[in-house]
């Protein structure tokens, strides 16, 4: 269960993102067309972009609170982020990518070996570990990026259109992996997409963004 409070305003050139949302759900869906501010919203939660005003809270933790001058840097937020193009580090192999965050936070892999094995099993990464990331398909890259984010045991996992780079046939194969993360690991998700049908199978609640503003809310069926 995620208790996420977002109340932010962020201006950049002609675009203004203004989102006010408090949810306590396992999967929050964010739906909207290209340019509606979905990625900007995720980057704001992750700490990559700084809002002009407002606050962001995950449970009791305050990540950003403009009035009190609080703005935790991305590295201290414990937010997992999987961008649309996965952004696997091209200078590391698959295992190097998966272990990247752990080597910093835990100094050794020993403490998270059970989690690592679980992720490798859930996301079916065993055959990929030694591979160079350039050789992976779009869907494989997404799975590796999801494992890399989850290895740091984030409080929330942000997924930016995880199925966008994948063709129809493969979508049906990746979605079950994401559902298993929800079911087996109980990591709350913020799931962004421009395909409303995708959200029906995964989200508990959906906010509808358009031109940087929330224009609708719904509980998924």
């Amino acid at each position: 269960m995620i208790a996420l409070t977002i109340d932010v305003t962020l201006r950049q050139q002609a675009f203004e993102l203004h989102v006010r949302e408090t949810s306590a759900v396992e999967v929050l869906g964010v739906f909207g067309p290209s340019g509606s501010g979905k990625t900007t919203l995720l980057e704001t939660i992750a700490g990559i972009r700084t809002p002009d005003t407002g606050e962001i809270r995950v449970g009791d933790r305050v990540l950003f609170f403009a009035a009190a001058g609080i703005n935790l840097p991305a590295r201290e937020r414990h937010i997992g982020y999987v961008p649309q193009d996965a952004l696997l580090f091209p200078n590391l192999d698959v295992a190097g990518n998966i272990d990247y965050g752990v080597r910093h936070r835990h100094h050794s892999l020993a403490g998270v070996l059970p989690l690592r094995s679980t992720l490798i099993e859930i996301l079916d990464l065993g055959p990929l570990l030694e591979r160079r990331v350039q050789k992976l398909s779009g869907g494989e890259k997404q799975r590796v990026a999801i494992a890399r984010a989850l290895m740091t045991q984030p409080a929330v996992l942000l997924l930016d259109e995880p199925l966008a780079a994948v063709d129809r046939a493969r979508r049906d194969r990746i979605l079950p992996y994401i559902l298993r993360i929800r079911r087996d690991l109980h990591v709350p998700l913020v799931y962004v997409t421009h395909d409303e049908a995708e959200l029906n199978s995964i989200a508990d609640r959906v906010i509808h963004l358009e031109a940087g503003r929330v224009v609708g809310r719904s509980a998924a069926p």
Partner: protein, 220 residues
């Protein structure tokens, strides 16, 4: 080719390698700061870094001669601890460092600028500190620019003449580099020895530029 010719070539290569090894950490630091940060006075820093590119090398040499000479505070401080710089191999290294630094720093900077910042942002969400991001993501991804810069700087250092002759002189066996050697050999009527040095200079320069171009091709 005489042993003297080979000794001059070997000395020049060792000095140039030393100069690049010593200046590379500074060039990486400056290149990273200029590529990734905005701050008041940035244009001034950029100008100072590029200055040795446009200043006549002899003028750079004169500045170094003053800076490390016995009349300057730095020269006196070094003298007090028994370090002599002017007219020694150390002056050769310093002259090479100063004249090649802009080339190395600019190449490092452009290498870092070509690294997609989103990789760095993502590494931060995984808990990495700015220094770890630099070490594990930015520098490896900018490595071709860094190596190309080092080769370019090395080539420039090999051919260094003006600053070297001002601050290190042309002492045979002690501070005589390829470029300085060619000049003094011609001056003293030893044209055959000068041609030997010329041939070695050409071969070294060819090798370095060829390696640098190959790197650029691999990148493209």
């Amino acid at each position: 080719m005489s042993t003297e010719t080979w000794a001059i070539a070997r000395f020049t290569v060792v000095m140039a390698l030393t100069a690049i090894a010593l200046s590379l950490p500074f060039a990486i630091a400056i290149g990273w700061v200029l590529a990734r940060h905005s701050f008041p006075g940035k244009a001034l820093v950029e100008t100072v870094v590029s200055l040795p590119l446009v200043l006549p090398p002899v003028a750079t040499g004169l500045l170094l001669l003053w800076l490390f000479g016995r009349r300057s505070p730095l020269g006196q401080a070094l003298d007090a601890v028994g370090i002599e710089v002017v007219f020694t191999w150390k002056a050769v290294v310093i002259a090479m460092m100063v004249v090649s630094f802009p080339l190395v720093a600019r190449s490092v900077r452009s290498g870092i600028e070509q690294v997609d910042r989103r990789y760095e942002d993502l590494a931060a969400t995984l808990g990495a500190t700015p220094f770890r991001i630099l070490r594990t993501i930015t520098l490896p991804l900018a490595s071709r620019g860094i190596v190309a810069g080092a080769i370019l700087g090395f080539s420039r250092a090999l051919g260094e003449f003006g600053a070297t002759i001002m601050v290190a002189g042309a002492i045979p066996g002690r501070t005589q580099t390829l470029a300085v050697g060619i000049y003094t050999f011609v001056e003293t009527g030893r044209e055959e020895a000068a041609w030997g040095l010329l041939l070695l200079s050409a071969l070294l320069a060819f090798g370095a530029i060829y390696a640098s171009n190959r790197l650029v091709e691999v990148r493209a």
